[in-house]
Symmetry: C2
Subunit: 437 residues, 2 copies
């Protein structure tokens, strides 16, 4: 495929997207089923390609964790097929009426959801991202151009080729709905294709996502940081505070929604902090704290100013004593990344203020920051988590891959008829929308 | 104000936005009323400042049309106040529940609309843009940094100073909700403030909007072109075709939603084209056409290839004969700007196909392209028209200035409880949303 220029690939994808946009849910779901079958019927070929990637990775002495994520087996491939089938069961996000406005008798405006067009998906290593992203894009009527990690190149290439062939065998569905590029220079070229590509979805390290964001004019759905906080209020229930702080930090410390900084109200600090610190130390969490934290727990190392802006993604936590709710909110809005923040309190008023005033995608009241996730939220799928303020924010499901268009149904009306002193008036009567079956 | 650095101005705006985000509708509407009163009570001062701008513009021999747009009088200032009051009557776009998901008993997720934060609004000349944009931003809980045309600098400065003072006099509302910058170098600085500014709204010429889009990483709500089409189908009603083509081209040729290219099915061309051409010529519209158009109407000049991509914004039209619906759709998707396109047909199937497959923000069936407008659509206000594929598309009302956040209401739940073999299961029960009053 790499013999085509990026502009050709992107134009192909755009053309495919125009066809995908008008497919019925049934045809899209049939194509998804064919994709699942293609993987199941070709496990040996996929594992063979994967073996090449593994050999190369071992030869290059790549980290064990990376090799583990890269390695496929029969059960993992079957899992990919199951994942595709579960996307087929999701409601179609395309064609939903969002508003109906009778502008006048016989002049009716309908706002209807539709695909974005072409998605550029760039991810590091794991080959299971290929069927997952491809199926979400197909379900939402978008064409996709994929770029995976170079360590997984053979696996990805084999999977994309199977998926594309399977799709192309369904009458009316273009094989170029799913395409793949392989080199870094092609990524650089892809980021220039703002004429054809509507959204870039990057998955990978913070530095990787930041690089993407800084090198394209195309909107990027992603987050480059997750500096998440828990604020323990004056009246916090001690048991909840301990359980939520431990879960938010430790349930999976490498996740973007894990807590990095614990803020504690000065009035609850002496009551709750010693126990919290003891619990974290028992779990081998490295702690750094502000001066007031160290007055209460002198064994903690001093935090640097930069700690308040750092995502450790590891068993490390910074702790700060603050003068009440407002100081906590201010700290979060200043140092946070707008991702996910938690208040532990029994007071609904403080909780409501925190949830209104903290400017983050997810704000939790007495619930772990780790709940901020598309599947846990019940969105059915997760395209990614976004810290953008436009389009889609927080955990993003399929609806992050659609936009809408306005369809105006008239009978020959002109604007001139509605203009001037004797012009007709608009009625602007909002009508009920047709609900999806 | 220009003594502050742009970073200071932007940080001020961000801080103001955090306060604005939590204001009740009543307080925001009270502030809007104060803004309206401040303009009404200071008409003399506003006209005095405006006179300085007019003097300067006359001295510089600026175009008459520009001077006319710049000139204020008592009735125009009263119109500004009335415009602010009409924004106050719009429904508050903030605080609307968009979804409620019971993840489990006692663990409820609510998605609620909230402001974007800080808007950067850049516009050319007209001083009435100042109260309009300021009021829309305030109503939606956003802080705004305004930059108007330098010809209107004295008028804008006077108006902003009155608005900001009026807002600041309402308890709890920060005066820095509305700020203004004055120089081009400040605009360049503002476009760098992606840490503080969530959206740039430019209003002006195509070249101006394109400049903005190409010089910032901040999302831009706007359109740099409106290459709009009408496609006259084989079966089109001749009277409708003529009325709609004339209105789409001539009702206001300088508008972005005016038609630039007329596409006509080869089977209706000999029937409809001579009359259409005659009507356009009677209205002094300059016509250029493809070879087949010129076979039927030899008096028309030949179109250049570049004509199909040109927005004339003037009494000029390009005409092309196409081989049926698909060719018409293909031409539009290739040469159009995704703005507004029209089909004239009596056949619902052709209409539906056109409206699904033309990849534009507004698709019209037997209704003028000129209807593509926030007020005509009944959105209550128009921030601008967007040809973006993300966030907001087509005519954008107040909801283009909001996004949402997720609020999770728990009772101490951890993710660990929901993990592993014996973990609890999510219920994911969708609950009805609370409707705004």
């Amino acid at each position: 495929m790499s013999e085509l220029t990026l502009t050709q690939i992107a134009r192909e994808a755009k053309n495919a997207s125009l066809v995908l946009a008008r497919l019925s849910s049934d045809i899209k779901d049939a194509a998804l089923e064919k994709m699942a079958q293609a993987l199941e019927s070709n496990i040996a070929r996929i594992l063979e390609a994967n073996e090449k990637d593994l050999e190369f990775s071992r030869k290059e002495n790549l980290p064990q964790a990376l090799i583990a994520r890269l390695a496929l087996n029969e059960s993992k491939v079957k899992g990919m097929a199951a994942g595709i089938r579960s996307v087929a069961t999701l409601p179609d996000p395309v064609g939903n009426e969002q508003m109906v406005m009778e502008m006048d008798k016989g002049l009716v405006l309908r706002r209807v959801s539709c695909p974005l067009g072409v998605i550029g998906a760039i991810f590091e290593s794991r080959p299971d991202a290929v069927p997952q992203i491809s199926s979400l894009c197909l379900k939402s009527g978008n064409a996709v151009i994929l770029k995976g990690g170079s360590e997984a190149q053979n696996s990805n290439k084999q999977i994309v080729s199977l998926l594309s062939e399977a799709i192309g065998n369904v009458p009316g569905v273009p094989a170029s709905a799913v395409q793949m590029i392989e080199t870094r220079s092609e990524v650089a070229d892809m980021l220039q294709q703002d004429k054809f590509i509507s959204l870039i979805v990057p998955r990978g390290s913070n530095a990787f996502v930041r690089y993407i964001q800084e090198n394209t004019k195309i909107p990027v759905l992603g987050h480059s940081e997750g500096v998440c906080h828990a604020y323990i209020a004056e009246d916090a229930d001690e048991e909840k505070a301990v359980a939520l702080a431990l879960d938010s930090k430790l349930q999976y410390p490498a996740a973007c929604n894990a807590m990095e900084t614990l803020l504690i109200d000065e009035k609850s600090a002496s009551r709750v902090l010693p126990r919290l610190v003891g619990e974290f130390k028992a779990k081998n969490v490295e702690l750094v704290g502000c001066a007031r934290t160290r007055e209460i727990c002198p064994e903690i190392k001093a935090a640097e100013e930069s700690d308040w802006d750092t995502e450790y993604t590891d068993a490390k936590l910074s702790i700060k004593v603050v003068n009440g709710l407002q100081a906590g909110i201010d700290h979060i809005n200043r140092h946070g990344s707008g991702h996910t923040d938690l208040i532990v309190t029994e007071d609904p008023e403080q909780a409501e203020r925190f949830m209104s005033e903290v400017d983050s995608a997810s704000v939790m009241w007495n619930a772990s920051t780790r709940f901020a996730d598309g599947f846990r939220y019940g969105l059915g799928a997760e395209i990614g988590i976004s810290t953008n303020k436009t389009h889609a924010r927080g955990p993003v499901g399929l609806e992050g891959l659609v936009i809408y268009k306005y369809k105006l149904f008239g009978q020959g009306q002109t604007v001139a008829e509605y203009s001037g002193e004797n012009g007709k008036s608009f009625q602007h009567k909002s009508l009920p929308v047709k609900r999806a079956d």
